[in-house]
Structures are given as C-alpha cells and as structure tokens.
Amino acid sequence: MTTAQPAMLVEVEAVSKRFTPQLSLGDRLAALLGSPVETRTVHAVDRVSFGLEQGEVLGLVGESGCGKSTLGRVIAGIHPPSEGRASIAGETVMGDGRTPLKRTTRIQMVFQDPFASLDPRVRIGETISEGPLAHGLVSRTDAPAYVARWLTAVGLPVEAAERFPHQFSGGQRQRVAIARALAMQPDVLVCDEPVASLDVSIQAQIINLFLKLRRELGLTMLFISHDLGVVRHLCDRVAIMYLGRIVEIGPAAEIFAAPRHPYTRALLDSVPKLVTGSDELVTFKPIQGELPSPLSPPPGCHFHQRCPRAEARCRSDAPQLAGGTDEGTGHRVSCHFPLAGEA
C-alpha cells in the first residue's frame, strides 16, 4: 500500500447492507409485552471496501447468494447502504435522510433478466429517452434522434423505438437495457450478470458488445458474474466474494494463474475442464458443503466450515484483506493461511 495507488473513480468504503423484514403488528405487540421476538436480519454485504480505477473492468465473482448483486445495487444507488459509503469522484451515490434518493446519474446499471428489467407497457423509445429527458440531457425535440443514436450503438434497428419489449428476443432486450443505461451518459456501468439468462450464442454477442462499447466510450465497469470464463475474457481485475465479504482481489491474470485464497482455488477447480488428447477423464473437485446462511453468518472467517486449511484461529478471528507477496499489483487476500501462489 504505497503511494503508487492511482486515484480511484469509484470508492466503496466499508459498505454493509443488512435486510431486516418489518415486524408484523402482532409481533410488535408481542415484543411490547415482553415476549422474545426473533428478528431475521440478512447480512447480505459485510464491510466491503474496494475501488474502481477510471476505465477498468472489475469482475465481481461469487456463488449465488453471496451478496454480489446486493453490493452491485448499493453501488448503483438502488439500495442505500446500511453502513459505509459508495462514492463516484468524491460524490456520494445516495443522499441521506429517511427515504434516501440517488443523487448521481454517473453510475448506471444493466440487470440480469432483460424480461423483468424493461417495463412491458412502455415503448422502447420512451424507455431509453425518459431518463435523459428527466435529467435534461436531451430536449424533447431531439429525443427521437438521440434514441436512434443509442439504438444504433447497441446494434438495433432504429424502428425498434416504436415497439414494445415483448416483440423482442432476450438478446435484443438486453441490448435495449444497455442502450437505456448508456443513454444516461454514465462514467460507470454496473452489470449484474448481464449474460447469465441468455443463450450461449447470444452471450458471446453481448460480451462483444460490452468490449466494443468499453473501447469506444472508455467505460468503467463493475461486472458481476458467476461465470469465470466470461470474467476471464472481459475483466482487468477480479474480486472474489464469499458470504458478503471480498476474500481476494487482484489482477485477473494473477488470480486465475495463482489464486491465494483457498476459496478462489476451490472455485477455479470446480470448473469442469475438457482436456483434449488425453484418455483420462478429468474430474473436477466440487466445493464441499453449502454456503452458510446469511441469516447467521459463522464467526471468524466465513469460509472456515468448508475450508481444507482451516485451523482454530479461523473459527474465531476474521482475517483482513491484506497485501501478499507482491504488493505492486494490488493483489490482496483475506486469509490467515494463504496459498503460496503456485498454480
């Protein structure tokens, strides 16, 4: 951690997000009368800090339910963080107050399911133009041309503006969703598993579209995914998340070549591989056990129950994200007994 760190465009500082369901009237009365009431708080994100440099693509990887989508939504300003702060160029994403509102348009989001993220009753043209109109990025008279420009940029015909979402396929809808996000002229794009619900052949098209847009617009991206292949192809840096915490973060090439956290290692090993020119069946090693419940996360290191290297210390003492052998690359790991870094 020396002065070599360049200024970060996006700063995520100790962000936590907990969900506590509202108690029913009956439960509240019971609590008032002194009976113990169980509050089921979900610890989705637990004190996560990281930064995004201008122009980089950071992959956020983890199992289903590890909190990566929630973290993405906090950064995109959809959920206010329970603690901590997400900011872009020093400006906090969400205001304070009882009903916090998003204050910036510089971070936009693309969602996983393009069938759910487009309002079925609104024409594509209005879907794309309503944000820019509301924020004065374009005048009403210029709006059709503006919409046409972004439709072209994502590879859709200009006539698409007059249609409704149900007239499009999944891949086309995802292009519309991307156009909607980009029409706000953001600096940062949060992509929450944007290709996970698409056919494999369509996935490649959308990934290539992201690569092209990134090159042309100089976008900074947080790319949330559980697909290691996609992340390896697209991302400069990778953050591995486990049960609400980041366990390892660093340059993509380094993480894939020499993971240092046992969980990252296990995640990489659990990808089935096809090896040509060998009669041996290459078996992959699935990770033992299940993700613990975020309702009651285990003490100490969250991974200790499934970790082959766990010792007594791991059960009581939560490790901090710290630099390893070569700090110059910013490769950091949160483990008491990190792997040596041999692939």
């Binding site: 998003k102 309002d119 944000g131």
Partner: protein
C-alpha cells in the same frame, strides 16, 4: 408490429366466447344508450312539473293519458310517465355511478400505489386507515356522510367515493407491492427517476388489470348504493328522481295493487346491475391468470 392483433382485439376474441357476458354487455350498452338519449326518446320530461297532469296519476301500464300518448309502464303518484322517469333515473344513476367510481379509482389507486412504493411508516399509516375504513359497512359510512353533507349530486358522490375508495386502494396496494419488487422499478430508481414518475408511469399501468375488475364491480355497487341512499331519502332531491327514489315513491302503493310504480324501476335497476356484474365476472376471469383455462 409483426402481430396484427392488438391486445384489445385479443381480449375481445376471448370475451365473445362467453355468450352470457356478450348479452350482458349488449344490455349494458343498450341501457347506457337509452339513458344518454333519454331526452330524445322519452315521451315526457318527468322533471318539468308543468308537463305533469295530476289527473293521470297512478294509472296502470297501457293507459292513454290526457296528453294523447300511451303510458306503457303506467304513471306514478304525480302523474309522471314511468317509462320516462325510469330513463331519466337511469341517466342519473349511471352518471353518478361512473363519476363516483372514477374518482374513487383515481384516489384509491394513487394512495395504494404510493403506499406500496414508499413502504415503511407511510405504508403502515395509509393501509391501517384503509383497514379501519373497510371494517365499517360501506352503506353505514355512506349514510352518515349523506346525512351530514345534505342532499344534492355532489354530496352524494362524495359519500359514495368515501365509501368505495378503500377497495381500490387495497387492490392497488396489493398489485403495486408485487410490481415494486420487479427489476424495471429498480431500473427506474437507478436512473434515477422521480417517485411520482415511477408510480404513475411504471407501477400503476402495470396494476391496471386487477383495478379494472374492481372498477367494474364498484360501478355496479355505487349504482346500488346510490339507489339505496335515494330510497332512504338521503340521495337526490325530489325534483330529480333517481331509480331508488322512484321505488321508494311507489312503495306505499304496493299493497293497494299499484305494483308498477315500484316494480318497473326496480326491474330496470336489477337488470343494469346484474348485467354490469356479469360483464365484470368475465373480465375478471380473463384478466386473472390463475383462472385461465
């Protein structure tokens, strides 16, 4: 653009398979047209006291009055031609039902959707008030209000709206809560768009199907409620009799054999309400995915 049929055309395609609903819809439309055209087709203006001949009062159906035309449904105690009075009465009943229904729809849907959108204390406050109100019988509430506000069209509408907006609010709240958790709302919030726009442009249009069903039923209900209030003498002034008041006026003559003064307005009212409800049933069947065949 590839599909030639609009959603409305597809809706009608399914609707016309239910013969009863089609007939009911025909009846509703026919009654509505007759009510709208009442000044043109009715033989007499029942509101113009100069037109009424007291000599012709309480005559049975088919009586040829002193003005030279046949009273097909007889006359009431003031010598009004009942057919004309029913047509004019329907006109008022439908008008009040629609206006009260529309206001209750707008008010209730807005309240319910905003409650669902904001959640937390705002939601708890709005929904508890509505729960409280739903625990009173609507007729009781309307009676109290009609008595407090006095007679006339607008006090009556106010009473009907108060008695009914809660049904819209609860339906809108349920539907909007489901929509609130969908990604397109999150997408609108991440843009960010103002709460007003998210609710009115995105959430409410997607809540319309259940609200339309409630609206059909509630228009029928407010017509019935209006008739009840008028029957009890709390509705419209005597000079503009609605169906409820016609029934009430004839009530005292029922046992003396002059059944027509009460029965015919009653029949008109029942046919209208039953027809609206039949249409509403079919609309509900079509809009509720769980009832789909």
């Amino acid at each position: 653009m590839t599909e030639a049929s609009t959603p409305l055309a597809r809706f009608w395609d399914e609707f016309r398979h239910n013969t009863v609903a089609v007939i009911a819809l025909g009846v509703v439309i026919a009654i509505s047209i007759m009510a709208i055209a009442a000044p043109l087709i009715s033989p007499q203006n029942p509101y113009d006291l100069a037109n009424l001949v007291l000599m012709d009062a309480r005559r049975p159906p088919g009586f040829v009055g002193s003005k030279g035309f046949t009273h097909w449904l007889g006359t009431d105690a003031q010598g009004r031609d009942l057919l004309s009075a029913i047509l004019y009465g329907l006109r008022i009943s439908i008008q009040i039902g629609l206006i009260a229904g529309a206001i209750a729809f707008a008010l209730g849907a807005t309240l319910g959707a905003f409650a669902a959108f904001f959640g937390g204390r705002i939601e708890a406050l709005i929904m508890r008030v509505i729960d409280l109100q739903l625990s009173f019988p609507a007729i009781l509430l309307a009676l109290v209000l009609a008595a407090l506000l006095g007679q006339g069209k607008w006090p009556l509408i106010a009473a009907l709206v108060t008695a009914q907006y809660a049904y819209f609010a609860r339906t809108a709240h349920g539907a909007a809560s489901a929509e609130r958790s969908k990604d397109y709302v999150d997408a609108a919030l991440s843009t960010p768009l103002a709460a007003r726009r998210v609710v009115f442009r995105h959430i409410l249009p997607n809540c319309l199907p259940p609200l339309i069903v409630v609206a059909t039923v509630q228009v029928a209900n407010s017509i019935a409620l209006e008739a009840t209030l008028s029957f009890l003498g709390l509705g419209l002034p005597v000079t503009e009799p609605s169906l409820g008041m016609l029934i009430a006026n004839g009530f005292q003559y029922m046992l003396s054999g002059r059944y027509w003064i009460s029965i015919y307005p009653g029949v008109a009212l029942i046919v209208l309400i039953v027809a609206i409800n039949l249409v509403g049933d079919q609309v509900r069947d079509q809009l509720n995915p769980r009832l789909r065949r």
